[in-house]
Amino acid sequence: MVKQLAHVPVKGHEEGVWQILAAVPDPEIPVLSVVDLGIVRAVEPDRVLITPTYTGCPATQVIERDIRAALDAAGFRHVRIETALSPPWTTDWITAEGREKLHAYGIAPPGRGAVHCPQCGSAHTQEVSRFGSTPCKALWRCRDCAEPFDLFKCH
């Protein structure tokens, strides 16, 4: 017995597809969804367009697999997932909601001004290492509360 999944045409269901994708977590920062991160560029009747964050981000393949599984489970098996490189992803595409989630999670969101400690809010902070646990993060510490923290790098 093979269970047949219904084919759901996307046309008219774009909002629903966006909601499905908004529930797919980023494998390395699971508090963010792939939509929060700005990885999903477009939802079209026959395809979902995604973009890698960093050229060598090892999570890229996992993200595509997770999106595939979520679409399949909802009946959008015929929707292709395509990768677009241009224009290159930038941290400016992280949504306002995504930035709030990062901050609440203890990761300073990317910004061009002073870096504020996500624990105590102090701007009295310093860089420890430009590279952290993932390609997108740098290691910082707060000089007031002495807590180390990750900064999502401006990219």
Binding site: P52, Y54, T55, G56, C57, P58, A84, L85, S86, P87, P88, W89, V128, S129, R130, F131, G132, S133, P135, L139, H155
Partner: protein, 275 residues
């Protein structure tokens, strides 16, 4: 070869070799050019991966591993595209793991051994400073795929170049021992810089079509940046070295074969292996 500084280069070392691939057709030329771009990134990425778990501090370990990731990401894009241009059903993995040393088209600089940390950073500085300028030009390539990869990667390469320059300055302007090591690293690597600016027929053919970048256009800018950083580091630029070329035609140093043996062992022994 007219683009190179006036040097004593034996024609046998740089002329058409036994392993040259004819590239009369544009598709063949594009394939060759993409191999150069992809192999540079792949081989340097593999080299930097050798540091994983061995670097002087955890921060440096992370930065070298992250450089390697960026480079292997570039290699994946360029080699997958090379496989498409070739049209024989080879993908990036096939090209990375199932070619022999004579078929690699990377420059000699990237295959040089890591040596100590200073030598690794000397190589990184000389390469990333070049690659950054190359990608800035390629971001305007008439080939949309090359332009997209370059525009994406140049953001990361800028980071590589800046970090490597900081280490050249910190070690050069550090203790007698650190300066000795950085100067030694630069001495080792400088011979391989002229190859980066070699504008052979293939490059000029594709540059004429707006696809490739003619590296001679940014030679002066590159030299200016290298001299600026070395002056800050208090190191005399290496001079009077005999340039060594040939990587673009498959004439490699002995180091590449050893690197490939380590990199290709698993997929060649277990061709069906998967994660």
């Amino acid at each position: 070869m007219a683009s190179l500084p006036p040097i004593d280069t034996p024609s046998g070392a740089t002329g058409a070799g036994a392993f040259d691939v004819p590239a009369e057709r544009e598709g063949g030329a594009l394939f060759e050019y993409l191999l150069r771009l992809g192999d540079d990134a792949l081989i340097l990425g593999q080299r930097l991966g050798e540091w994983c778990g061995h670097a002087p501090s955890v921060e440096v370990d992370l930065s070298l591993a992250n450089f390697a990731l960026d480079l292997i990401g570039q290699a994946t894009f360029f080699l997958n595209y090379a496989g498409e241009a070739e049209g024989k059903g080879r993908d990036g993995d096939r090209l990375a793991f199932h070619r022999d040393v004579l078929d690699f088209r990377n420059c000699l600089l990237v295959e040089q051994p890591n040596g100590d940390f200073a030598q690794t950073m000397a190589r990184q500085f000389l390469f990333s400073t070049w690659q950054r300028r190359l990608f800035q030009h390629l971001a305007a390539s008439a080939d949309e795929t090359i332009a997209a990869i370059a525009a994406k990667a140049v953001k990361e390469v800028t980071y590589h170049a800046e970090l490597a320059a900081e280490w050249v300055i910190r070690l050069g302007d550090g203790t007698d021992e650190s300066r000795r090591r950085m100067a030694g690293g630069l001495d080792w690597m400088a011979r391989f810089v002229p190859e980066l600016f070699e504008a052979d027929d293939l490059t000029l053919f594709l540059a004429g079509k707006g696809i490739a970048a003619d590296p001679t256009l940014f030679r002066a800018d590159y030299d200016g940046e290298v001299h600026r950083v070395l002056a800050q580091a208090g190191i005399e630029p290496p001079a009077g070295q005999r340039p060594i070329l040939g990587g673009r035609r498959g004439h490699h140093s002995e180091h590449l074969g050893h690197l490939l043996a380590a990199m290709q062992f698993l997929p060649r022994t277990y061709p069906e292996a998967a994660w």
